[in-house]
Amino acid sequence: MIYFALSLLTLSGFLCLYRIGSGPTPADRMVGIDILGILVVGFCALFAVFTGRGFYLNIALAWGLLSFIGTTALAKHLEGKKFDE
């Protein structure tokens, strides 16, 4: 069961990577990066079930925070502003 879920998530991750690699505009690549960041949180939660160790959820929380900050920084950059505006 857990192998099925992990393989489905890996397939989604590869679809995201295809969009990051081939996106016609920079905004498409940034969308791919945002979605991949959320997928990794799901990966960490699945690893917590798979290995039975709770500390993977700490990684999931920290990754969610950093991914959100990174996405907002990329959006600011896309808008053509400096980061402190």
Partner: protein, 108 residues
């Protein structure tokens, strides 16, 4: 019992993640991709974390999963909002089959 329910919710969540990423490939422009992918991936990841919460019960692991659910449900739409506005300001055009664009008419 709760083990089984948690696993079922995890499988449903991964399926929604897969649908969101198929949408990322098939939909035609930035805004549609962002829309489909954000909705599906947010619910999918929240379902995976909810499955962890249900199968592990109330405890340190479950509470961390609950915190992650609340965090993702708040930040994912905000990030999508920021990205779409940034893409519009950067001049990414809408798909040619779009019906109406009030944002351009009324000025940004």
């Amino acid at each position: 019992m709760s083990e089984l329910a948690g696993k079922a919710i995890i499988i449903v969540g991964t399926l929604f993640n897969l649908f969101g990423c198929i949408g990322l490939i098939r939909l035609p422009d930035v805004y549609n991709r962002l829309q489909g992918a954000t909705k599906c991936v947010t619910l999918g990841t929240c379902s995976i974390l909810l499955g962890v919460l249900i199968s592990s019960g109330v405890g340190p692991t479950g509470m961390k999963a609950l915190a992650a659910i609340i965090f993702i449900a708040i930040t994912a739409p905000t990030a999508a909002h920021a990205l779409s506005r940034g893409a519009y300001r950067a001049g990414v055009p809408l798909w040619e089959g779009s019906v109406v664009d009030k944002y351009e008419e009324e000025g940004s």
